[in-house]
């Protein structure tokens, strides 16, 4: 038995999440599904699990066309979905959770406790006879692996043939993972195919019979897992093919790092550890890594590190005692975050008000007192410099296009700043931005570096990093590895560095 997806297209407003993806999932395999964030994995499994209907394309179950309009319909066809976040009720026992909503009852009202226990135990034993899990304890007191197993047993209620597991080990401590791996490996032999989503490539390789790679909403390839390596998987996930360098003359050959602006040593945050890092005036340093490898968290921690565990940061030679946003802003560090509508902008505020958020004093007539006229003049100047397309500085930022929103997010740090920033940190500077605005933003970053700022760019767009950076630091599993120096940049060298091979 198998479920086949043919030419699936899914359109979200403004973007195509899946573009003609065809793939078949069988009941006798563990099928690994990998791709970077935004590649379309989640959309694909929500199609499979009845969470959403495709815009175009067909699904066939054992050759017969099916339409799965709801998770209920998918369940009825034998497809169950165990989500990443977990869906257990923490205070209920394992047995109560396994039979949640299907408890044996007397007269349709009173739950029969003994029967409930026995049934739950029987279900556990049917799938995993050699496992002992105390089903009488509240699940919140059980090890995470056992909680996941209970969730899986519940999902297998009914006649399930395909089980979707979304990041099943994401919340598990390392020593519990093996326990769950063994469970997953056994399911195909019992007639249940597994679709496994995971960011851990070692896990994908260890468990999968076949692997499907998605990139930018497209199918890259489906292939047998035997013999594949992590390096190959990384390459397939990331490789977009190298376009020509966008700025005709590469100015990098003339660029030389000036005085060291920032020096970091012994830096430890929960997501990353960096022994030593430095960046000089006029430099553009790129940070690369797979999702979750710590490069974004590190970039952010140089501006705001509430959970810093150890390490010192020197700014212009002077040690900074506490790395907190208001403190670093005062000292000349700018931070332009990813997810701009969450981390940077207020959607129903005007462009003027958003721009004035960091340095409102530039629009003041007396200390603390604002003049809308001055604010408008200053906002216009910034919008002109960044060629923001808006009807006026009074237009609400939420109504602008992605590129113009991003320009406002950057413009906040130019409004009234007068070149005061020594270090500017960008995370995903061109996320969701059209190609024209992307080029403009890249040019702006180069100009800021030319004017003497140190520019740090963390991005998942490797071509962007290749075009911009003078030096690149790659992160693997929270560790910063050696630098790559221009001009030895290529997608291949980046990918090798990101998968842990020595650069």
């Amino acid at each position: 038995m198998a479920i086949e997806l043919d030419d699936i297209i899914v359109d979200y407003p403004g973007t195509r999440a899946l573009d003609r993806v065809s793939v078949a999932f069988r009941t006798d395999e563990v099928h690994g599904l990998i791709g970077e964030n935004g590649a379309g994995k989640t959309t694909l499994v929500s199609i499979l699990g009845g969470g959403r209907l495709p815009t175009e394309g067909r699904m066939r179950l054992d050759g017969a066309e099916v339409r799965l309009a709801s998770p209920g319909e998918a369940l009825a066809r034998g497809i169950a979905h165990v989500s990443q976040e977990g869906s257990l009720v923490p205070g209920l026992t394992g047995a109560q959770n396994i039979l949640l909503g299907a408890e044996p009852r007397r007269l349709g009202v009173v739950v029969r406790r003994a029967a409930l226990r026995a049934q739950a135990q029987a279900m556990l034993a049917r799938w995993f006879p050699d496992l002992t899990i105390d089903l009488d304890r509240p699940v919140e007191t059980l090890p995470y692996a056992d909680q996941k197993i209970i969730e899986i047993v519940r999902a297998l209620r009914g006649d399930i043939r395909i089980l979707i597991l979304d990041e099943p080990t994401a919340t598990l401590p390392a020593r519990e993972k093996e326990r769950l791996w063994a469970i997953i490996r056994r399911l195909p032999a019992q007639g249940v195919g597994v679709v496994l989503i995971s960011h851990f490539l070692s896990e994908i390789l260890a468990l999968s019979d076949r692997i499907t790679v998605l990139r930018d909403g497209r199918l890259v390839r489906t292939f047998a897992a035997a013999g594949a390596t992590e390096g190959e998987l990384t390459a397939l996930m990331l490789q977009r093919g190298h376009g020509p360098t966008e700025s005709g003359v590469d100015r990098r050959r003339h660029r030389r790092a000036g005085d060291r602006v920032v020096e970091v040593s012994g830096w430890r945050i929960p997501e990353a550890q960096v022994g030593a890092f430095h960046i000089g005036a006029g430099e553009i340093v790129g940070l690369i890594g797979l999702t979750g490898s710590g490069h974004f968290a590190f970039a952010r921690s140089l501006y705001d590190a509430p959970d810093l565990e150890a390490g010192t940061l020197r700014l212009g030679g002077e040690a900074v005692p506490r790395v907190a946003a208001h403190e670093m802003r005062r000292r000349g560090v700018a931070f332009i975050p990813d997810h701009r509508m969450i981390h940077s902008l207020i959607g129903d505020w005007s462009a003027r008000e958003n721009l004035a958020m960091v340095h409102p004093e530039a629009g003041a007539v007396a200390p603390g007192i604002l003049s809308p006229r001055r604010e408008t003049a200053e906002a216009r100047a910034v919008m002109q410099r960044l060629s923001v397309k808006a009807s006026s500085p009074e237009q609400a930022v939420g109504e602008l296009s992605g590129g113009n929103k991003q320009k406002i997010s950057i413009g906040k740090w130019l409004y009234g700043a007068g070149g005061r920033y020594r270090l500017m940190i960008f995370v995903e500077p061109t996320e969701g931005v059209d190609i024209g605005a992307k080029r403009e933003i890249h040019d702006l970053l180069r100009r800021l570096a030319d004017d003497g700022a140190a520019i740090l760019v963390a991005s998942s767009d490797l071509i962007e990093i290749a075009d911009l950076a003078t030096r690149v630091v790659s992160f693997v599993n929270g560790q910063a590895l050696g630098d790559l120096e221009w001009p030895n940049f290529s997608e291949q060298s980046f990918i090798a560095a990101m998968s842990g091979a020595t650069a």
Binding site: S344, G368, M383, K389, P393
Partner: protein, 335 residues
């Protein structure tokens, strides 16, 4: 995109998406519809109720809404920072007891007023600490604080009104007239103007709105979010204390259960205000017109001879309608 920047930085508008345009039209309609209803109400009462449209009654309305407006201004600061202060009613009651108690005991007026406001400062500070440092949501912390203050008010007053020997200089605040207009109306107007200026024309006000609009974005812009949430809660208590002092001057005595109505009326006022001007945002101008709205309705229903419990029903309906309008037309999540 190599086109030169258009003159004065304003290139053609990026076309808003269809849903966006619909939302904007709704908001535009909303911005003024509440004012239109207010005008209609006013006209209706003027035609239908005998003694409504007289100078003395209109001045009466101004006097009636002045304390409410002052409480609601405090609430507006809280709402702007996305904090709700449910202790304002009993806070007003507390200040309204402390002032007269000291005056009756022979303390000079400035001391009595300072003590009342000082109580507001203290309670506001406790609220702020509970909310921002301890981490109790403001809704719960201030609800509990209200309960505490209710008890305190009965403890310090022994459940009896405090009156007799209140100096003229105090009573004139609540009962006096200047050029035939109630002193209270001038005080309210002053409070509205000052608060409007602070919220709309100072960096402080802008930061309070930023913290309420998107705390994460404000903090990553280098704004100390916690500090502005604290200040908003303290300001809220201070305005409540001021209103309480004025209320006792108006009544000529300190009443242990005075001020209780200001919580619900104040919330209704702010919610009505949130349908106006910048829908979904609490603004001083909106709050002022919200108070007028409540004042006109209360006064009109009074003159019609309707009982206070009918007014209570009307008020409840108004709150639900106002919040329903705001929630359905903006992306605001109140809680």
């Amino acid at each position: 995109m190599s086109a030169p920047p258009a003159a004065r930085g304003a290139a053609p508008a990026a076309a808003p998406r269809a849903g966006e345009a619909g939302r904007r039209r709704k908001q535009l309609f909303l911005r003024y519809s509440t004012l239109v209803v207010l005008v209609l109400l006013f006209a209706g009462f003027s035609l239908g109720v005998d003694r409504f449209l007289t100078t003395s009654n209109l001045l009466n309305i101004l006097q009636q809404i002045s304390m409410l407006t002052i409480v609601a201004i405090g609430l507006t600061f809280g709402f702007a920072a996305r904090e709700m202060d449910l202790s304002v009613g009993f806070m007003a009651g507390l200040a309204g007891l402390i002032g007269p108690t000291l005056l009756v005991a022979g303390w000079p007026l400035p001391v009595a007023l300072a003590a009342g406001l000082g109580a507001g400062l203290a309670v506001g500070t406790v609220n702020a600490v509970l909310v921002t440092l301890v981490g109790v949501p403001s809704l719960i912390a201030t609800l509990a604080m209200g309960s505490i203050l209710f008890g305190v008010n009965f403890l310090i007053s022994g459940g009896r009104a405090i009156y007799g020997g209140l100096p003229e200089s105090y009573l004139v605040l609540g009962q006096g007239r200047l050029f035939g207009i109630p002193v209270l109306a001038f005080l309210m107007l002053a409070a509205v103007l000052v608060a409007w200026f602070v919220m709309e024309r100072t960096i402080f006000g802008r930061y309070v709105y930023a913290v309420g609009g998107n705390l994460k974005a404000a903090e990553l812009s280098g704004i100390r979010g916690r500090r502005y949430r604290q200040m908003a809660l303290v300001i809220s208590s201070l305005f409540a204390a001021l209103a309480g002092l004025l209320l006792s001057a108006r009544l000529g005595s300190g009443q242990p259960n005075a001020g209780q109505d200001y919580l619900l009326d104040g919330l209704a006022t702010v919610f009505i205000g949130m349908t106006m001007f910048r829908p979904g945002t609490a603004t001083i101008a909106g709050t002022f017109f919200g108070a007028l709205f409540i004042g006109v309705i209360n006064n009109g229903l009074n003159l019609l001879g309707l009982d206070t419990y009918i007014q209570s029903i009307v008020k409840g309906v108004i709150i639900i309608v106002a919040v329903a309008i705001v929630s359905r037309t903006t992306k605001l999540k109140l809680l």
